[in-house]
Assembly symmetry: D3
Homo-oligomer: 210 residues x 6
């Protein structure tokens, strides 16, 4: 009795394959386009393509900033390719700092999961600073592309999770952009009004040349 | 006299090839990306890539719902790839029903071409139902992603055409999503508050397991 | 027994108002923005805001082109405001013509509902014409912004429905753009290489001045 | 010495007001449009417009599902208006369930902050279920508009945070959409193949009429 | 002293490769998709991919319109692929005319760099002509998809640069679309109300057939 | 004879008002939304709303950077509101510098109109600098949100015009963001690793406090 019903039911969709693109798991071996990576063939997709466990592991904060960023962007987490969203983990040891940086292609929401964090961003309109000490459970919105920072001013380590409005928001850390490449000292001085001595010192610290 | 004019005219475009991407006919054999299928080479494109005749054929309504959906999404109709639009045909026999479903990636306009159709959708704001009996020539807008249905409550067959704001709007039919896969009965019961007996019955009808 | 369950259930949403913008019915009296009309207050929205019956009425084809376009764009049909889609009806009497035109902000799918229609568009890449005689039930995709036309070359009236990938796709009819305004004859001649006599004749027919 | 430099520096921007729209804090009293709420005047914006503390408070899980969703969408959190992103908190008591639901206008990333959560979604392509037990620190991507659920199958309460690719992703809970409104029992039965008795029972539990 | 600091600093990013897609230089040999060309591998990208010198060369205006367009669209300038912007150069000799045309996929800003230019566009709303004589340094905005023209009415050559809101805005020149292909004279006459003699004459001038 | 034809022709559009939104001239007095300013009423729009002459005037370069930026963003040029494009003028005196800056919401094309300009941007992927000396007529693409600069290294003044892929791309000048507000010196030091003395010096130059 039941079987015939099921049999005819499969006719509801007149086309044999009503395939639709619910997702586009990144295939890192195929060509990439302006909208992201090529898609893995649906038949090979498993639930593990949608799950990322890398953010469960504390980042190594043994560095000059006592902080660590662990991204789960499309380049690390194939499941977000094409979905308009991504995630990251931010560890701040005591005294830790996430230095001034921007995300060129995405807005951000910061969630404090542990400790307290001083977070702020600088508007482009008139350089106004919007800054606040956030406690556990607070979220803060950081508009796309604006310079912002996070600082752990407390006596215990802090942990935050960060979400972005793009699968590939990008991360441009100001210090590294200025001092960890071969941009000549003179050109940096011209385009920042920083003193040459200051620039050379930081190039030394961060590995820049020229 | 005329010839020289034509000859020099071809110089208007200084670049020998001002090629632009007017369209991107789906090439089903190349890798797919988040924005859709790769494009067929323009030189191989013909008018037939832009025309689809499959919607001229009535769908087979000999099934439990007495209805049939015939999609002309990018997966079936290569001409709409990348264009932000697609189409489908809906046949409802007497007593026919297009069961509750959503289109995860597109808004819809329903056009009644024959007969009358009771159509409705459920808003997410406060579960309000917007429902009306549509007559031939009426159109109804169904916002993206919301549950909706169509029923032929009349004594003659009904025919509708449906347009979407995406070349791949998707189609998730509630009954099939719940009862035509291996989602365990207990988990369905937990996440829907339906009785286990009801779930098992419908799994039987629709071919689900577990 | 049941009442307490329901009572506590309403707590599932911790926020008293999980309002979301499922739709944005056009309020023609409020200011319009780049994304469309302001939204009618949700409490005043009824199902009739989502339904449009104007396309059920044949357009008046008693005119020079023996054709009529009846749009259901956001300006006429408030329900599509913000939804990324709109619709129109096209009546072509015997010998009727929808003259060359573009939709500046949307791609189109044309559905032949009655009769046969010769439809075509001109690509911008190298002026290739993609043209075909469509029969009832055929659909044709017309990429955004390209010049296209529809002609009834048959012996019976034709009817088509047209869908667009925008709530406000626009409609620029070439003849009216050229000959139904005050663009000086000399300037038209310069920018089209048409003869002045031809221009003046058509300005006369279509009501243009200068 | 310094003063003159500063004085002339303000001339870098030739326009006196290079105002740009870094953000658009929701002004709930002005008309809303398809892209979101009108913007609060920049001069009145403070850092508190960008910070939301409501997610730091556990939701009340004393209800039939032993769960609570606390949204920070644009309707609750004015700072995300126009930014393409939003957030929410999900509390699941022991045995708690977030019933089957969709977000009509956004993809989601789920972060397990405490406990373990069985999460899954159902693809529209062929009703495949992608399901996994997530542990603390895991994230899972849920593509836009697809049915999904979360269940706490463990012996301790679970807590998750959820991010969306839209400031107003919407939330349509299947049970409430079906059983907490005035959709007639017969119509539900027709469009879901559920038994009328089952429908009536759940309408009773959830407060539906008809 | 410095070395250890630098060494540990590299740990700031926990993921070894925080690669992000800042750009997608067009790789003309890989498949193209709806969002543009595939991306060249980042390691092979040089500054020359972002620079285009072709617009520094005057176009050849020895043609019927005494004008020349030199595009720097994604098809010519690989650096703009995926960036939402492109450029072009327009040379108008004395008496030169850029005939009526549209850009199907982009709005335009015209900058007069030399001489004066009469520029205008025709709105679709009611065929209103917005027309003005622009002098050196003036810019004019032309909304997407609308018919527009530029004329040098002065006694010296004019030069303009044009920017578009798309890497592939397209360029459909009315005269070429009508008269430089195999669209039959009778069909053009029907869909434009131009006289057959006029059409044949211009087909002769511009190389059309049929 | 002609009159009747024209008379009936007006029936081609069955709807009396086929109004479409070709443009949305900014009305600075109405509320602004996430997509831009409210629209001026079409009846009040004139060609002057689409033309901006402010870029024809050299900016005042008598300042510390010997440079001047003159924006024609939606805030200054109402005609680009909603069109996805804007423009600016950049004057660089001999030795002039446009200091490091970003546009948070748009990609850029730089056109050298006079003189030579050293232009460069820093990628976020690995801090690679893409830098080149551009001559008159060269264009350079700068991807969205990345730090970039322009320097006149030549012996004559330089002039450039800049186009953006947004009507409100924003402009965040690094020096002003760091040193022209009340961000405390200590916090800047923490989040940039610059020396406090350096910071205080530049705050003095640029007018910052704290």
């Amino acid at each position: 009795m039941i079987f015939p019903i099921f049999f005819t039911f499969s006719l509801l969709l007149s086309s044999s394959l009503a395939s639709v693109k619910d997702f586009c798991i990144a295939n890192y071996k195929s060509p990439e386009g302006p909208a992201g990576y090529s898609c893995k063939k649906p038949a090979k997709v498993t639930v593990d393509d949608f799950v990322y466990s890398g953010l469960g592991i504390p980042g190594n904060t043994t560095n000059i900033f006592k902080s660590a960023v662990t991204p789960a962007f499309a380049a690390q987490f194939p499941g977000v390719n094409g979905l308009g969203i991504s995630f990251a983990r931010l560890d701040l040891a005591v005294g830790g700092v996430m230095p001034l940086h921007t995300h060129p292609r995405g807005s951000e929401i910061l969630l404090v999961a542990q400790g307290t964090i001083i977070a702020g961003f600088i508007s482009s309109a008139n350089n106004t600073v919007y800054r606040k000490t956030l406690k556990k459970g607070d979220i803060m919105a950081i508009p796309q592309g604006l310079l912002h920072f996070q600082v752990n001013g407390d006596k215990t380590p802090a942990l935050a999770f960060v979400s972005f409005s793009s699968p590939s928001p990008g991360l441009q850390i100001l210090d590294l952009a200025l001092f960890q490449n071969d941009l000549p000292t003179e050109l940096i001085a011209q385009t920042t009004v920083l003193d040459a001595a200051q620039i050379k010192k930081l190039k030394g610290v961060l590995g820049g040349t020229n």
